[in-house]
Symmetry: C2
Subunit: 261 residues, 2 copies
């Protein structure tokens, strides 16, 4: 089974993309809703949580791990790879590769949580591939609560997005990475505010393409994965609000199972 984890339910955008491209593969999802969000917390705390999330999925039978959370990907991937002997794919590198190949002006913008932006992981990975790239980052900490409130079309949300994107717009970026799994739900507004000439990269979508590539190139792992087309969703806390957003993301009723870590 493919194990996917996130700080909450934002990572369901990754599950959605995976199901579209790989409908047969069994997926185990864990959302750490009892301790969400990760994006406002320290690297030490995020690493501890990510290790516990991974342990849970491996105990449940996951044979490979997908870190759907940008904050966990940016701060905890190295620790996870040292600690666990299974393939681990994270959400940063696929978006970085796409951005580097798509940017003609070599001016890339990143939006994400404060923890993701402070980690400078996008910037470092982009510059490691093409040192001449200019990278501009903007933390957008209010977007997660706005999405979790379901304020997807409200005027206030549009204004806040416009305010956040303004510094990137004046830098004349031609590619913008959505560095948080909640942001695809705001993609239309983000595209409108940053301008139609900027290519907006959805990191969930980029990640699912990279999972396909990985399976294609690693038939030993691929052949062991179950393919009954099932999806199981575990969360560390359940509220009506979480169930609603899960339903909005996956367009239907989602049965969340409560587990205590």
């Amino acid at each position: 089974m493919i194990g996917v984890f996130d700080s909450g339910i934002g990572g369901l955008t990754v599950v959605k993309a995976l199901k579209r491209h790989l409908p047969d593969y069994d997926i185990l999802y864990f959302g750490d809703t009892a301790r969400t969000p990760y994006g406002t917390k320290s690297p030490e705390t995020v690493i501890q949580y990510a290790v516990e999330d991974a342990e849970f999925l491996l105990e449940k039978g996951a044979q490979m791990l997908v870190v759907a959370c940008n904050t966990a990907s940016s701060t905890a991937t190295d620790t996870l790879k040292e600690r666990f002997d299974v393939p681990i794919l994270e959400v940063i590198s696929p978006a970085v590769n796409m951005a580097v190949s798509d940017s003609k002006r070599t001016r890339v913008g990143i939006i994400g949580t404060r923890a993701t932006v402070n980690s400078r992981v996008y910037e470092d990975k982009i510059k490691a591939i093409r040192p001449e790239m200019k990278v501009y980052s903007q933390p957008c900490p209010l977007l997660v609560p706005l999405v979790e409130e379901g304020w997807l079309k409200k005027g206030e949300t549009r204004k806040i997005i416009k305010k956040y994107l303004h510094p990137l717009k004046v830098k004349q970026i031609d590619v913008l990475i959505l560095g948080c799994t909640h942001y695809p739900l705001l993609k239309d507004i983000i595209q409108a505010k940053i301008g139609k000439r900027v290519k907006v990269i959805d990191s969930s979508e980029a990640l699912s393409v990279s999972v396909i590539d990985f399976l294609h190139n690693n038939s030993d792992v691929e052949s062991r994965l179950k393919k009954d087309g099932t999806c199981q969703f575990y969360v560390s806390d359940i509220t009506e609000q979480f169930e609603q957003i899960a339903g909005t993301i996956l367009k239907g009723t989602v049965k969340l199972e409560h587990v205590r870590l």
Copy 2:
């Protein structure tokens, strides 16, 4: 020592009020910043966290507990009182008593997190004292992230507050309870938007008055409390952002000590 706990650093508004009224009393503060916020989580999870927070403060030597968090007060107070044999004061009742005595039109508004509003605890307590009171509640889940971002004077914050308060305004309330320890930082905007004829009750301030009353009436407890005027602040996670807000609330540098629960 007086032990005060909160889901994060919002409860420092209570410490501030306590220090103003009772400068000599030693205070131990615990903010559960590694799992903040509580207001979006389920009652079961909030109760578990509140019990752990209380245990921590009692181990550190607290002789009485003040639950500074509205969400924890509304969902966990009964469990805490069953579990622990020390005086426990919570933040709801003092504000309720003040509202009941101040409202002439018997129309009271409450704003708080989704968890606090869903618990209906303010409404139940108000109606237990004066059944004829009309109580109108409005969850304002975006205000905590806005405060934690330091967006205290921004236009977007004003607009969101106006939107939240509109349904209470049309109900012609004459008293409004700030049912969350973060909200006193937005008191000026809230007062402006709800109108100057509405009395705005700061639950932190009401709670500190009730602590004074309690100590006055319980000299056995009062005489055992240390009075060296010290304050110790423990948090389960430290970030620069948390330190900044703590500084904003207490107007100065606050030394936060990191502990793992």
